[in-house]
């Protein structure tokens, strides 16, 4: 079973979820979060609608593992929405995209309630022990691998997944920090092949998670990212862990999810 650990789903037309296309590209299930532009704080209502959309897609497609998204600037209201996602809707995890959403983990907001380390959201994450994805790309100020290492240390019971793992600039930092932090996971979207290979060698295949950034670039990234993993020459057992086994073990799928269904409804496009 291939589980894609990095899939965006938004209601703004940028990233509509197309289950048939995902299947045709070889994906059995997807860790999905809104991410990027649509959760940039434009409105709490939109974030809530996007989270509801993920819940709907999970039940309709049987291949969506929804990760709730909120903006920390909303303080208590953000925590309540995250609590709703995880405890009421039964989402398996949470996702944050600090760079694209325009906030830093620690430094930007003088109001501690919107500083992730001190915000009410942090308490929800800690109490639920849910897996958490943080986009971790190329701007060190926002969410560098080292900052996520500190987040992982402060949330020792939560698996913390580095989305992009530093991309092609900071992947060495991601490997070094993850080697010192057991609950930090290395996700592979846009990481150079040599970086992924080294991550498997240094961290073990059980700490590396395949991701494609689907549906960016009209889904072309999926074949490229899969080819990178398959070019590594991993053992079948290790490849299976990277391509979905690790996320499966985190329990992000509902029972029966990931088994292909005969007719996959498309998400209505706006």
């Amino acid at each position: 079973m291939i589980i894609d650990g990095h899939v965006h789903v938004t209601l703004d037309g940028w990233a509509a979820f197309d289950a048939e296309k995902a299947h045709s590209l070889g994906l059995d299930a997807c860790l999905c979060y809104s991410g990027a532009w649509a959760d940039t704080g434009v409105s709490m209502e939109l974030a809530r609608a996007q989270n509801d959309n993920l819940a709907r897609l999970r039940s309709e497609t049987g291949m969506v593992a929804p990760f709730g998204t909120v903006h920390p600037i909303w303080g208590e209201a953000a925590a309540q929405e995250m609590e709703r996602c995880i405890r009421t809707l039964g989402f398996p995890g949470a996702a944050f995209n600090p760079h694209q959403a325009g906030y830093m983990l620690v430094r930007q907001h003088y109001n501690l309630k919107s500083n992730l380390f001190h915000s009410p959201i942090f308490e929800v994450l800690r109490d639920t022990r849910a897996p958490v994805v943080f986009d971790c790309d190329y701007l060190a100020d926002y969410s560098s691998p080292a900052q996520l290492g500190e987040m992982a240390r402060r949330l020792p019971d939560n698996p913390i997944i580095m989305g992009h793992s530093g991309w092609n600039a900071m992947w060495p930092m991601a490997i070094e920090v993850a080697a010192r932090t057991d609950n930090l996971f290395f996700e592979t979207a846009s990481v150079p092949t040599g970086g992924i290979k080294l991550a498997v060698q240094r961290l073990g295949a059980d700490r590396v998670i395949f991701g494609s950034d689907f549906p960016c670039d009209n889904g072309h990234t999926v074949a490229y990212e899969l080819r990178k993993i398959r070019s590594l020459g991993l053992t079948p057992a290790d490849e299976a862990l990277v391509l979905g086994g690790n996320l499966w073990r985190m329990g992000i799928l509902s029972e029966g999810d990931g088994r292909r269904r005969p007719a996959m409804p498309r998400q209505a496009r706006r």
Partner: protein
Amino acid sequence: MIIDAHCHVGQGRWVSQTAEELLRQMDTARVDMAVICPVDRQIAVDNREGNDAMIAACRAHPDRFRGLAVANPWYGERAEKELKRALAGGLAGLKVHSARQGHYVNDEILDPLLRLVDVVGGFVYLHMGTPEVAMPLEAIDLAYRFPSVSFILGHCGGVDVHWPLSWEVLETCPNTLVETSHVAFTGYFEEPVRRFGGSRFLFGSDSPVGAMEVEKWKLERLDLPGSEDIFGGNAERLLKGRGVL
């Protein structure tokens, strides 16, 4: 001839590759020639060691390798002497990695080295994608200051938000080209290649950081106009301009 415009040979802290290992990758990917440069430590401090290794590899495999020199500009006159020596040894141009070497990419500290490259008709590969020190719109300063030197923007300028900055550089400076390694959203190439022409793009893998076969495949499947230029013609022109092909 298919030429990979950006590969490394040497024992690095993060990734390593011998000349023989690179040749095997080239054979597997059906690549005729690679433009090679040294690895991290040699780029940062042990420039002479790196340059000697490039010269030796090119002499051992004259039909497969051409090399770029490294010289950290903070060494001042010693860097100029080292670059002169390396170019005299047959290396084709200069690789600048401002993040490893500790300066802004447009810093005038580079100018004495760029003048040396200009004199011999060489070209310059710029590492791109490290904010503050290695970004496309900062590199544009170099292209203005040295209009007769060709500058290659590595990794298409960096990551997704940097790629459009590279298009701005291509638009403005005819002496610039873009190298393609690590760009995951390959569909983003199609419009710029049609707009600027295949003569402004170079296939590169950054091997062993990137997997050569995978990086080549991602471009082949796009059926880009001017693909002969992208896969070798442009690199061939740069090397011939320097007189090393």
